[in-house]
Symmetry: C2
Subunit: 219 residues, 2 copies
């Protein structure tokens, strides 16, 4: 199955949206891809033709088994390149997403399998997301919840669900990265902001929006 770069990006975004909600809508996908609903409808027809999605007019979009497999391969490439950029080229986690978006479209089984070997066959990427194996099987994400839902005080950061440079830069500045251990000092109900503390540093407050995107596990 030979996909264009545009098709790969659609498949990847559909996969991402499917993970969260059940129905992938035309408008939601357009927003995710920073394009227009009309363009999504056009592409949906092509992807249906290629049997990568199930699609009926006005009924939303879902990946077929084949589409899901394609998505996992793209995600594998993306995450391996992120590992390469961070581990070998010393990029920080907030810089790698855009570059990996480009590198992921170089399609070569051999390249990716060698890259994976070279990196020591990592199973999670720099944002804490699992890396699918060559067969497209992805280790289950460790049981994790977002910081805004956690109900224990001592927590460890396991992943970040929004990969925008804006959020990652913010976390960097605050000293929050994968594996960071933090303590919840206070939860403010009026705006759902949370006061947290890392090690011996002074406590600080983060908004609900930020806390929703930090995934944690209880310590």
């Amino acid at each position: 199955m030979n996909l264009t770069v545009a098709e790969e990006n659609y498949i990847k975004s559909i996969y991402k949206l499917e993970e969260g909600t059940e129905a992938v809508t035309t408008t939601g996908l357009a927003y995710e891809l920073d394009t227009k609903p009309a363009s999504v409808t056009d592409m949906a027809k092509k992807l249906k033709e290629k049997k990568l999605i199930d699609y009926e007019k006005y009924q939303g979009i879902n990946l077929t088994a084949e589409g899901k497999k394609a998505a996992l391969h793209i995600i594998r490439r993306h995450r391996l390149w992120e590992c390469f950029l961070v581990d070998k080229l010393a990029f920080s986690w907030d810089e790698v997403h855009e570059l990996a978006e480009e590198l992921e479209h170089v399609r070569s089984e051999k390249l990716i399998s060698r890259l994976s070997d070279f990196l020591g066959n990592p199973t999670i990427d720099p944002h804490g997301d699992p890396i699918p194996d060559a067969q497209g099987k992805m280790g289950k994400q460790r049981a994790q919840i977002s910081l805004d839902q956690a109900r224990t005080k001592r927590l460890e950061v396991t992943a970040v669900s929004d990969k925008s440079a804006a959020l990652l830069e913010f976390l960097n500045a605050k000293g929050i990265r994968l594996g960071t251990q933090l303590e919840v000092i206070e939860r403010y109900e009026f705006d759902n902001s949370i006061e947290i503390k890392i090690r011996n540093q002074p406590a600080f407050t983060i908004s609900e929006q930020v806390s929703k995107n930090i995934m944690v596990r209880p310590l």
Copy 2:
């Protein structure tokens, strides 16, 4: 200056042809890019518009200073990726050209400068070609001639001018790589084939076409 992938490929091919001959013709460029002369004419107009080439109807194509600079940056990216694939991912020299053709189009100064550092800032690629530096300056190719023109018997292989997998595979099979030292046993005038010998291995004969593409320096 933001170039499309197609534009980058044209610039690179024009540079390559300019190195050899003086005038780059529409047909010659079409052949190099495996496309049609009409397509070349179309693109020539665009590249002229962007001031990357000098072009007048029926008068052939030449890179401007700016075009040359762009070409050298693309070549730098290409050759660094080739180094990465061979040195780090254990590809052999006959496999890397096509992959590097894709990787070279990921445009990021930072990525390339980090990659270069990671590789130890190499100055020649796996085929013996010099790698331009970040400013686009390229170390002069060591004085070298093709094997068919060499007039001494003991020679060292310094580069290969044709990067087709076909030739490189052949050389691989015969044990010829960069740095290989060989001895010319006999030159046959009727077809310009050459009998050569590597170290203690039995002598074998190569055609004129092959010998024209092996660059050597006298020992």
